[in-house]
Symmetry: C2
Subunit: 256 residues, 2 copies
């Protein structure tokens, strides 16, 4: 069913969500931003959509207000909104509790489990959506809206979202940092990080196919002290990397 | 040009290499293993290929002998081989120097930069091959052979292979360990690791597209102490994970 939706925010998440909702056949009625020009940039991509910096939506036709602003701004933006009586308001944050919206009778969370950049189109149909709501009817409506974007929609409590965020810090943010280290090691010897791309992709595929515990390889899990000592010696002038190498290797050994 | 090749070893690397060489139009003449039954298992997949546990190849027609055995066994296996006078022998190891083969007049390294499992077919055409050789003519021959499997063939010294191995420990082995941790955190709350798959895949794509330094996101790079403290508190009963979270976050901060 076609829905009429207003986006509150014009950052990376709003950018991707707005275009995906429109492609899915919904009407994005308006984009709100405290900076009008930012709202306009996104509204211009969505036929028939208006841009506004006024938080008074009492005359709006939208049934859904999706808030996609950063965590620091979420509470203050939500506090300024005036919404039509029967509308549903949901935020899209992984780390903020649903309660920041509790002054609205129908509220919830509409959380796409993905990392977004404006410049890189994301296929939302592959993305998990975590839904939480103030009541059964609101849950059903948010679930159905998400289901028009992806088949991977599921219930997710505020506590679960917090745990997912911690898990994602390890699996994504920290992983990316290991890529930075790896690149730095290679470039010191005029080698291109691109060399590791097939290896990294295969590592990811194996981890999800076999499970990461089964897929673990390398000197630490083999207990190959000779190679470990060679590597630590190579890193002598990088004590931070030595510490990290040592700690991660010890943790892998404990996994046995 | 079709080459005649003998594989020394019948493990994961030999398994994938044998099949790929045959698909590329070469003739795999023989598979050697100290355990005949292992050689037979692979030889049976390759039409016209024989299995042997005798290291005397003085009567062999092969121009290439590719040694794919584990690092610990490499020297002793190489020491037992008797090869035809004009043949080229190369090992496939990422961490062993070329010099383990120096008693053979024509020797080198034929290193596929990938992680291999028997049960999971790998597309070798996407894999980088690192070539090192005892002389120009041998280099050319090994390069051309690799080029029939992949367009990504390049010169790689023993020193460079060692550095690539260290970089791969960070980008692959340690990354996989972070996936294990992430899975463990999720499962404690009855959440499926699969939830993070689209996020992890996007993280990898972004790291190679934008470079990992540009792609870094998360509480550490934002300096979001509130979230970092919440996460550390959640990990109170897992001191190993707390230490790792702290060290990785500090290192990310230093990157700024």
């Amino acid at each position: 069913m076609q829905q009429t939706i207003t986006l509150i925010g014009s950052g990376n998440v709003a950018w991707q969500l707005g275009q995906a909702l429109q492609k899915a056949g919904h009407r994005v009625e308006a984009v709100y931003s405290r900076t009008l020009k930012n709202a306009e940039a996104l509204a211009n991509l969505l036929p028939g959509c208006i841009a506004t910096d006024k938080p008074d939506f009492t005359q709006s036709k939208s049934s859904f207000f999706l808030i996609a602003v950063n965590d620091q701004a979420l509470q203050s933006v939500a506090d300024q909104l005036n919404l039509p009586a029967n509308s549903i308001v949901a935020h899209t944050s992984g780390s903020m509790p649903m309660t920041v919206l509790e002054r609205f009778p129908k509220h919830g969370v509409f959380y796409p489990l993905q990392t977004f950049t404006k410049t890189k189109q994301v296929d939302l149909s592959e993305v998990y959506f975590g839904i939480e709501a103030s009541g059964k009817e609101v849950y059903k409506q948010l679930f159905q809206l998400a289901f028009t974007l992806s088949r991977k929609v599921q219930s997710m409590s505020s506590a679960q979202r917090k745990v997912i965020h911690i898990a994602a810090v390890f699996a994504c943010n920290f992983t990316n940092h290991l890529f930075s280290i790896s690149k730095q090691i290679l470039e010191k010897e005029q080698l291109d990080f691109e060399l590791l791309k097939p290896l990294v992709k295969e590592t990811v595929e194996k981890a999800f196919l076999l499970g990461p515990d089964q897929a673990q390889t390398g000197p630490a899990i083999r207990g190959d002290e000779k190679i470990i000592q060679q590597h630590l010696q190579y890193l002598t002038d990088k004590p931070d990397l030595q510490n990290l190498y040592r700690l991660l290797s010890e943790n892998i050994r404990k996994q046995l």
